[in-house]
């Protein structure tokens, strides 16, 4: 009976505002960025479906699709669209690679501190590198 009066324990998650205050190890960065990139992809999902729509529906709409990256769409200038797509490229790549890291850890039980540290650094590095390579293409650097 007495234990009914005891307040329930609260297990705090790392809140967005805590990110700046905490010194996170690489695996912690991968984890919180996995969550942020997932949320970003969720919020911008209609934009992604719109891109799919205009790129696939007809040759005329395909023209609108390519033009969005040259002249913009409506009130959105092309630069802003490229910036959003750039963010989405990073979000997809980070979420993808961090997800594969999860599957790999589940399958091989590679959960020692050093393995987690190394795979986190590989995740952060490869997603950023691929983002820069694809982003350079997006902004017409090659």
């Amino acid at each position: 009976m007495a234990d009914e009066q005891r307040p329930r324990p609260v297990f705090r998650n790392i809140h967005v505002t805590d990110i700046v205050a905490y010194r996170l190890p690489p695996a912690g960065w991968v984890s919180i960025l996995h969550r942020i990139s997932g949320a970003l992809l969720f919020v911008l999902l209609p934009f992604l479906v719109w891109l799919l729509d205009v790129s696939l529906t007809s040759e005329i709409s395909y023209e609108r699709f390519t033009n969005a990256f040259i002249a913009g769409v409506g009130f959105m200038p092309a630069f802003l669209i490229k910036l959003v797509v750039f963010a989405l490229i990073w979000a997809y790549l980070h979420h993808f690679i961090a997800g594969v890291r999860h599957l790999w850890m589940d399958a091989t039980h590679s959960v020692s501190q050093s393995q987690g540290h190394l795979s986190a650094l590989i995740t952060l590095g490869s997603s950023l590198l691929l983002t820069l390579v694809l982003g350079a293409k997006l902004f017409g650097l090659y």
Partner: protein
């Protein structure tokens, strides 16, 4: 213990919600990763990419099949993930419920739109 296990003292354990979400999150992720690789391979090899080749990739019957599965997998995956986010950060029950309902509306709407795009090709 077990014969008084009801009412306010009911033990709410053993529903396996955690395992189900954990497993569905991984299965849907694996499907989406596989689909991504299939799409990238088709984009990398072939003639110069324009509307005709882009549209022909998605109009193949097996790609329609795969795309539909992946749209469903994505909606499911995003639901589990967003539900986790709301459960972690949003404590007021009413607000959390409202956000969860909006999440489902958002995902079902986007999934329907994507399927419409894919199936009218």
């Amino acid at each position: 213990m077990s014969d008084t296990n009801y009412g306010s003292k009911r033990l709410v354990v053993g529903a396996h919600y955690g395992l189900r979400d954990w497993l569905s999150q991984r299965v849907t992720a694996a499907l989406m990763a596989l689909y991504t690789l299939l799409l990238v391979v088709q984009l990398l090899f072939g003639p110069k990419l324009g509307y005709v080749r882009w549209a022909s990739i998605f109009s193949q019957q097996w790609m329609r099949f795969a795309s539909f599965v992946v749209v469903v997998a994505l909606a499911w995956h995003a639901w589990v993930g967003m539900r986790d986010i709301w459960m972690d950060y949003i404590k007021p029950v009413g607000l959390r419920l409202a956000l969860q309902v909006l999440t489902i509306v958002w995902l079902v709407g986007c999934a329907g739109w994507a399927v419409q795009v894919l199936w009218r090709l």
